[in-house]
């Protein structure tokens, strides 16, 4: 019997964003269907719906002609769906074999846990995929690549009909990617329905049979891989005339003296990082997920320990051992994960904006509520944060407005920010807000602030930043100006070995 998974008119909205709209397509058994699209196109949301993590607002899914819906991720797994995320769902302190068979350990006739049998069964699966793993290895000590393989074997063992991969190759080396692709070929040969989400063109052409292109939550095109090419795909993915957004930016083109100088910075994750940031300049950090961009700025901000290296601000060497010291040195960080690291989500806009400058908002030894209010209203007006009042919790705001709250916090007149670091500031926010945030960055630069801008969206980095630094595997692999930068050049540096 032919197997297939069908998405029927799936729709999903989050506060402020229509994440998915009227998505319908069909994935067939024995084929690899690639889902592509820019960041924020809706791929992750679709996977979340498939894995039972989220419920669609509209539409339904069908597996082999029967409608399926899930109460929980567990339910989805039981119904034969395995989604392999980058954050691996493994138990690090336990052996490979027990991870593969978790929840279904073999027992002997007496009902006792049968370690021998487990080892044998696990070894069979490992051999089937031809992997050099010992079933008794502790998963936590395997490399990320092999951890992912364990995850795949777990899905295989469960006899999942549908196996979906979310950017599986991001942390892998070329050789490991080859092994992964061999595994996927095997799964394909067994008639599994395979969904494959990736940013990497070359891979998609290598592994997929069909391609679904998503853009801003809508399905643009369904294509046969053999009948298309990269140019056509990029056109379908981009499509929207984004050129104007960048052309219309009022940029700063007067750079001052060197503000920040980093020499041979080393941490546990990145090595030999050197660069200079001038007053009024926007430096963009590009690179694939896991290339070490975030780790560089976390170290600069004192959030991760620095092992060696030198940091100079305005020519003076400084030591930064904690975020407090970084703030005192005029460095501000808008972190990657807005909700977890950037904001205290259940507190008001006012509390979030006033947080780092509380000691400047005092009357005698007590807080001055009026000063807090004024500071907040000033930020709301400056950055046009959309809210009905200043005591609203940040949770109730849209992503773009949440980001503006963080920006408002670091740019008030009570705080001297010389260097503003934005880590993925436009992640998960709508196109309109993105343009606003780009303009704000340019405005900060015009005001003489040095801006460091990290983004996984390549077009965004190379069009907004004045200078682009490219990272790969914890090293800087290139530096290029906006005028010279093209997506191809930057990607080559980001993926070069």
């Amino acid at each position: 019997m032919e197997q297939y998974l069908e998405f029927c008119r799936i729709g999903k909205a989050y506060p402020g964003v229509q994440a998915l709209k009227d998505i319908s397509f069909r994935a067939e058994g024995g084929k690899v269907l690639a889902l592509i699209g820019e960041n924020g196109a809706g791929k992750s949301t679709l996977l979340k719906i498939l894995s039972g993590d989220q419920k669609p607002d509209e539409g339904y899914m069908m597996l082999n002609g029967e409608e399926i819906s899930f109460d929980s991720p567990c339910d989805a797994i039981n119904k034969g769906i395995s989604v392999i995320y980058q954050e691996r769902q493994l138990i690090p302190s336990v052996s490979v074999m027990e991870n593969i068979y978790a929840g279904d350990l073999p027992v002997s006739k007496l009902g006792l846990f049968n370690k021998k049998q487990l080892k044998k069964q696990a070894q069979e699966i490992i051999d089937k995929f031809g992997l050099p793993i010992d079933p008794t290895d502790t998963v936590g000590f395997l490399s990320v690549a092999y951890q992912q393989m364990v995850e795949i074997m777990k899905a295989y063992r469960r006899n999942s009909q549908v196996i979906a991969f979310d950017e599986p190759t991001a942390p892998l080396t070329d050789k490991e990617i080859d092994i992964l692709f061999k595994l996927i070929e095997q799964l394909k040969a067994e008639g599994k329905i395979i969904l494959y989400v990736s940013h990497r063109m070359a891979e998609i052409f290598k592994i997929s049979d069909e391609i679904v292109v998503l853009k801003d939550g809508e399905l643009v095109k369904t294509l046969k891989t053999s009948e298309t090419n990269e140019t056509e795909l990029i056109k379908a993915m981009v499509g929207r005339d984004i050129g104007d957004t960048y052309k219309n930016l009022k940029r700063n083109n007067k750079f001052g003296e060197v503000l920040l100088e980093v020499n041979n910075l080393n941490t546990h994750v990145v090595s030999d990082i050197s660069f200079k940031l001038r007053k009024g300049e926007i430096i963009g950090f590009a690179g694939l997920v896991g290339s070490g961009r975030t780790e560089v700025v976390r170290a600069l901000f004192g959030a991760d320990p620095i092992l060696s290296g030198e940091i100079k601000i305005n020519g003076d060497p400084v030591r930064i051992r904690s975020p407090r010291e970084a703030i005192d040195n005029g460095i501000a960080l808008c972190p990657e994960d807005r909700k977890e690291q950037g904001l205290i989500i259940w507190r008001s806009i006012k509390d979030n904006i006033c947080m780092p400058v509380l000691d400047k908002l005092k009357k005698g030894i007590f807080m001055d509520p009026k000063a807090k209010e004024e500071l907040t209203i000033d930020a709301i007006e400056r950055l046009s944060i959309k809210t009905t009042n200043i005591d609203k919790t940040v949770m109730e705001l849209s992503g773009g407005n949440q980001q503006k709250v963080i920006l408002g916090r670091w740019t008030s007149d009570k705080i001297v920010t010389k260097i503003l670091i934005l880590d993925e500031p436009t992640k998960g926010i709508d196109v309109g807000s993105k343009a606003e945030i780009y303009q704000m960055m340019c405005d900060f630069a015009t005001a003489g602030i040095g801006v460091i801008f990290i983004s996984s969206e390549l077009t965004e980095v190379i069009n907004v930043a004045d200078t682009i630094i490219v990272m790969h595997n914890g090293h800087i692999t290139g530096q290029i100006s906006r005028e010279e930068a093209t997506e191809e050049k930057v990607l080559a540096m980001a993926m070069l070995d």
Binding site: E98, A102, F113, A145, G292
Partner: protein
């Protein structure tokens, strides 16, 4: 051979060596450490602490913690003493079963607050510890309730080869049963999974709440059994002094010292037992060497912190492996090729 090599590399082996070295040092300083009476005392202490340790170690492995087991033991064993006092005709095994049932009920109370009310184990057991301990002390008004049942008290006097107390054998049996469950049953293996990554375990169809319920009820029973051994040895139930002696804290310290992760998911019951022996050799050693009585309390605290530092270093190592391995290993492989 491979197995032996593996064993020699484990932390447990290091702990065994440390224990032996410590015992030798103490004996050299004061040979009365190995006097029959002293060894007997040591084994008696190990008996009730070991029984409590078995339950606590498994709880820690599952990512839970029970701070109430001392109070549960005090309350459970008080139930035993009061039953024998109130119903002079009652055979002591009946009272024993009823008091163990009381322990199970106290475990269920903990489970109720965790699984139904959704509070975290740490907070729940701090609360129930005060509740059970408080009730027990109020009932006795801080005094002891004597137990005068010769057939029961005899159990505390029996010793094999004149030096291995019967209660010690009971403890060994309890530990072996726990080890059997942990290593030889599906449920036992799932304890590691639930403790190691609850989210992942849930996605594999394992129930976190069910595991927790079974372990807390069983720990209520084990704690009470530990309390009963204490009663058997002291010929009285004295909740106030039992709680003050905090054998459950000793068990927690020993478990962590023995390599069980405070974060759950790792460690073994053997290691925990070695940790307990080490702790008690330390305490008895201090007593034999005429150190002021309360110095051992301070030293135990210090040992706990050391154990947590070791645990922290280990889990940091694992976390760092997870984070760095992609980047570093990738780079290494590239350099090699």
């Amino acid at each position: 051979m491979g197995r032996i090599k593996k064993l020699l590399n484990t932390k447990t082996f290091g702990l065994i060596v440390a224990t032996i070295v410590l015992a030798i040092i103490v004996t050299a300083l004061n040979p009365s450490f190995v006097a029959r009476g002293n060894i007997r005392n040591l084994l008696n202490t190990l008996s009730f602490q070991g029984v409590m340790l078995a339950g606590i170690a498994i709880l820690l492995m599952s990512g839970n913690i029970d701070l109430s087991s001392g109070a549960v033991a005090a309350m459970g064993s008080l139930v035993f003493a009061l039953l024998l006092k109130g119903f002079p005709g009652m055979p002591w095994p009946v009272a024993l079963v009823l008091s163990l049932a009381a322990g199970a009920i106290m475990g269920l109370v903990n489970v109720f607050f965790m699984n139904v009310v959704n509070l975290v184990p740490f907070i729940v057991t701090i609360g129930t510890s005060s509740i059970f301990g408080g009730i027990a002390t109020v009932i006795t008004r801080g005094n002891a309730v004597p137990v005068n049942v010769p057939s029961f008290l005899n159990l505390g006097k029996i010793a094999f080869f004149k030096s291995i107390p019967f209660v010690f054998v009971v403890m060994v049996a309890v530990v072996l049963i726990h080890a059997f469950v942990l290593y030889k049953t599906r449920f036992g293996r799932s304890i590691y999974m639930v403790g190691g990554n609850p989210q992942a375990a849930r996605l594999c169809g394992l129930s976190i709440n069910r595991t927790r319920a079974i372990l807390f009820v069983s720990n209520g029973v084990m704690s009470t059994l530990g309390g009963l051994i204490w009663v058997c040895l002291r010929k009285q139930s004295n909740p106030a002094s039992f709680i003050a002696a905090a054998p459950n804290m000793q068990a927690i310290i020993a478990t962590l010292l023995g390599g069980v992760s405070f974060m759950g998911g790792a460690g073994g019951i053997g290691g925990a037992c070695v940790g307990l022996v080490l702790l008690n050799v330390f305490n008895t050693g201090l007593a034999v060497l005429k150190a002021p009585a309360y110095i051992s309390v301070a030293v135990n605290g210090l040992l706990l912190i050391i154990a947590l530092i070791i645990d922290n270093v280990n889990s940091m190592r694992m976390r760092r492996m997870l984070m760095v391995s992609a980047i570093k290993e990738g780079a290494k492989k590239r350099a090699a090729s």
